[in-house]
Amino acid sequence: MPIKLPSFRQRRDAYPSDLWTQCPTCQEMLFNKQLDKALRVCSNCGHHFRLSAAARLSLLLDQDTFEERDSGLQSLDPLGFVDLKAYPDRVAAAQANTGLRDAAVWGFGAIGGRPIAICVMDFSFMGGSMGSVVGEKVARSAEAALARRIPLLIVSASGGARMQEGTLSLMQLVKTVAATERLRQAGIPLISLMSDPTTGGVFASFAALGDVNLAEPNALIGFAGARVSAGTIQGELPEGFQRSEFLFNHGFVDRVIHRSDLRDELIKLVGLLAPVQLADAGADNGSIAAFRPLSFLSALADRVIPESDEVVRG
């Protein structure tokens, strides 16, 4: 049994209507407004639909606390890569389709009143693949979290490294892990939240190395892709192979958390992982002012994160 490959074509066929969405797991027709209110979890079978970066941020963070950073990072075409289509055209199409500049967004925010750095991937942008821009954003989020001594939350949703940037994409595994390791070695917590899917080079780098690894239910989490596994594995795959619960049973995920509990769990977890940092966060506020939120997400970021002392009070 080869792994079911996430595929947009299939998804597209699965959504005949603007008003109703069919659950790919239980085939139930779901009224979209209800589905959105249920945080895009199937009310019938609990299937967790994928979330856009913006939706994920609004789901997890204290309202209006997100302040994006480095929204201007734009990938280049270091290899002059052309397959059936030129890489720059693929990027342009993805930008037009998603309104994102690349597959990751990072910035500062607050959760339960505590400041954190957060980096969120978006699978709808070229399968959430990690190229130079995604790698750079993850690394910068880790370096910023270290500078402010605040926890870093990375929400993964990715098929792996971006082939079109060749080994430069592969090098992002080192770049990101080098940065998150500095964070961890300094005693600043890294929380890795794996959503569907978290595979290949993303799982084989920062996503697997959280001080705490969380996963949404039934998310596809693994190293080798369907084609590889299908071609190499004899016979049946184990029950639930490469799904969140499988990873939990094998010791690589601390907790599998239903989306409706996610924010509360994170608030509790951040509270236990991180002391309230006064000096550091405060000292750094000058540099915050230097930035201006500029992307679409600025709609979410019209307030700066709370001053540290407010954090203590709140």
Binding site: S7, F8, R11, R12, D18, F31, N32, F49, R50, S52, A54, A55, S71, G72, L73, L76, L79, F81, D83, L84, R90, A93, Q95, N97, G99, S124, M126, G127, S132, V133, A139, G160, M163, G166, T167, L170, M171, Q172, L173, V174, K175, V177, A178, E181, A204, A208, L209, F223, A224, G225, R227, S229, G231, T232, P238, F241, H250, L294, S295, A299
Partner: protein, 342 residues
């Protein structure tokens, strides 16, 4: 799988023969593909063959201290030119039986955990680390996934970014994505002339982006996976020339050149203060990547449900344009997700 890989090995052999002929500059695709075959040639020297020619002393260490010992990765203590070092490298077998025993050089998690253990020993003892990289990719099987192949690769990469001892990496054959990178994070990364290094196998890349593995040569060219290309990209610091028709035609000469290069670089690295060494290593990888920073204007959004609309909708507003929400676009969408081993 075994049968499949033996066939593949067979093809490698023939590929190598054909590659013995001159490469046609007029046909870059063929030229690159010939190099890929050379890199995969079963008669290329692997870690143990190289050590036999390079090291005065070698004691192999076995076992990951958790689950088993992986024959696809060799690790141990060696003396090279009077200098004590820790060596880690992948190991394919030259003959079919040995190759099967070595799992075609494709490590399981145990292999990378053994590498981690021995590299940590090297750090404690203050010994520099030398790694030899030649791997089609980490083993992609179910057992490998069960025991956390991705986690073991990530942990090995993480360790190498912070090891407080010099690291010299030599890509000697196939630099197969994450399975290679796991032991290829160095202060200096060298590559043999006919070695290749790629984010995914050309066959895998072709089957995803070209929808057929037959386009592997085209994918190999597009990924610029040769040692020379990697040098240009800055992923590799120095290319080590190979003798005659390739490393497989003259092991001693190959080993001698590699030995000289390793010693030369270790001598330089050992003079650096450790803090500078680690910082330089961090900077080396921190700098790899190709992007620009635009003076940020919102990207023009086509005339269809806007992002903020969608967001408002998600937060409980109107039901229009749900098709646009998050990852479920109804619009045509032709990027296949990059689902592959790194």
């Amino acid at each position: 799988m075994v049968e499949r890989l033996i066939n593949r090995a067979g093809r490698k052999g023939s590929g190598a023969d054909s590659a013995a002929g001159p490469l046609d500059p007029a046909d870059p695709t063929a030229a690159v593909w010939a190099r890929v075959q050379l890199a995969r040639n079963l008669r290329r020297p692997r870690t143990l063959e190289l050590l036999a020619l390079i090291a005065d002393d070698f004691v192999e260490l076995h076992g990951d201290r958790y689950f088993g010992d992986d024959p696809a990765i060799v690790a141990g203590l060696a003396r090279i030119d009077g200098r004590r070092v820790v060596v880690v490298g992948q190991q394919k077998g030259a003959e079919t039986d040995e190759n099967i025993r070595r799992n075609f050089g494709m490590p399981h998690p145990e292999g990378y955990r053994k590498a981690i253990r021995v590299m940590e020993l090297g750090e404690r003892l203050g010994l520099p680390i030398v790694t030899f990289v030649d791997v089609p990719g980490a083993h992609p099987g179910a057992d490998s996934e069960e025991r956390g192949i991705a986690e073991s690769i990530a942990k090995s990469i993480a360790l190498m970014t912070r090891l407080r001892t010099p690291i010299v990496t030599v890509i000697t054959g196939e630099g197969g994505s994450g399975g290679a990178l796991a032991i290829a994070v160095g202060d200096v990364v060298l590559a043999l002339e006919n070695a290749v290094y790629s984010v995914i196998s050309p066959e895998g890349c072709a089957s995803i982006l070209w929808r057929t593995p037959d386009q592997a040569p085209a994918a190999a060219l597009a990924m610029r996976m040769t040692a020379a290309d990697q040098l240009q990209l800055g992923v590799v610091d120095e290319v080590i020339p190979e003798p005659r028709e390739g490393a497989h035609t003259d092991h001693p000469a190959t080993a001698a050149t590699i030995k000289t290069a390793i010693i030369r670089h270790l001598a330089v690295l050992e003079r650096k203060p450790l803090d500078d060494l680690i910082e330089a290593r961090y900077r080396r990888y921190r700098a790899l990547g190709a992007f620009t920073t635009l003076d940020v204007e919102p990207v023009i959004i086509p005339d269809r449900p806007g992002f903020t609309d969608r967001l408002r909708n998600l937060l409980g507003g109107s039901t229009r344009a749900t098709n646009g929400v998050g990852p479920n676009p109804t619009r045509p969408y032709d990027e296949p997700p990059a689902r592959e081993e790194v």
